[in-house]
Subunit: 223 residues, 2 copies
């Protein structure tokens, strides 16, 4: 049987199934990682290329075109060239991606093994792992990781994160990527030091995964 072949790579599974059709759009190599990058905000071509070290420029170019044609991302012509950004539908990939990240959480417990790391990746990862956690009053904590500042916020709506915010939060922790990404220390330290008894919901993954206390508090001014 002849497979339907999309002229821009991505041969279709040709199956009448939502999952399969979704994979036709985002299932090819690098696609979901491109979306992960953009979940932290719009990026330029060369930023993507740099962050996804290993993806060749021709391949990246091809993927971006495919994702654009399928309504996942859009090109924005900014002052200084092209910006790639998620469409509203593309942003809805956050949920399945967080779910997949949660499923794969045990795999990062083995530690970093010379793998690449970008602080940007924490933006979808941290809220994904903390899903269900709520806090009132809100908790806001910054992680200083490899020169970047990632701010995690937990409020009544749940957790969210952003990178390089306009203003520093009052509490900033300095931590190795292994600590934050590997689900070690950071979370429990956050809970214990900052929000004692204020976290509710599904924080089991934290309790299982975070040995206490290895992140160091850098600054906690004006209380």
């Amino acid at each position: 049987m002849m497979d339907t072949v999309n002229p821009l790579g991505s041969r279709s599974y040709g199956q009448f199934c939502a999952l399969a059709r979704g994979l036709d759009v985002v299932g090819d190599r690098w696609n979901l990682l491109i979306v992960r990058e953009l979940l932290a905000g719009p990026m330029r071509f060369n930023e993507l290329k740099a962050s996804l070290s290993g993806a060749a420029s021709n391949l990246l170019s091809s993927r971006l075109r495919h994702l654009e044609e399928n309504g996942v991302i859009e090109r924005r012509l900014g002052d200084a060239g092209v910006l790639y950004a998620l469409t509203p539908w593309g942003m809805e990939l956050r949920e399945p991606m967080e779910a997949l990240g949660r499923w794969a959480a045990p795999l990062v417990m083995t530690g970093r093994r010379g793998d690449l790391f970008r602080p940007r990746w924490l933006v979808p990862a941290l809220p994904g792992l903390l899903r269900g956690a709520t806090a009132s009053p809100p908790v806001e904590v910054g992680f200083e990781v490899e020169g970047s500042l990632v701010v995690l916020r937990i409020d009544e709506q749940g957790p969210s994160a952003e990178i390089q915010p306009d203003e520093r939060p009052s509490t900033v922790l300095s931590a190795e990527p292994e600590i934050v990404v590997g689900l070690v220390a950071g979370g429990l330290t956050v809970q214990e030091a900052v929000a004692e008894g204020q976290l509710h919901g599904d924080v089991e993954v934290l309790h299982r995964a975070f040995p206490p206390g290895r992140a160091s508090v850098m600054s906690t001014p004006d209380p």
Copy 2:
């Protein structure tokens, strides 16, 4: 930079990120579709090959070995040969896969276009689309699709589905795959004819997607 290459295909992204490590395990072509097949129950090699029409046998063989080595599936030596089944961890892929299916739901609204279809695929798809729906007393409805019987059950715990159950439910609807899979008719008919006012939760997708009334009731014995 040199990519780490797994001897059994599947070159690693080499990124310290749960999503990326998860994709190292299940991101390669066909992997998630193999898992989808097994979500409806264990299968033989040739059943998989037949259901995933298009996957070459060598490729399928390679993928199965990869998934087994990574703890997603396991081989069971039954009376009549090898059975492939999900491990407990593999079953937890249900959640991210349902989320991806929900994200891709708009893509199946365009209808079947000569695509393949297997009733088995409804087993993860229907509960995924009905996520959040509850019913008490429970609602049980069968769909007779292309010679197979898929039973959808909604109770206090939420929706679930199985294929070829031991006993037929009292209500069985006959429907084209387009009707059931494409989110047309079936659901609303179920709600209206069987569980009027008994469904609660996130059934918006149904209300949006299901034009009423195109499924025909085949049998509704003993009330």
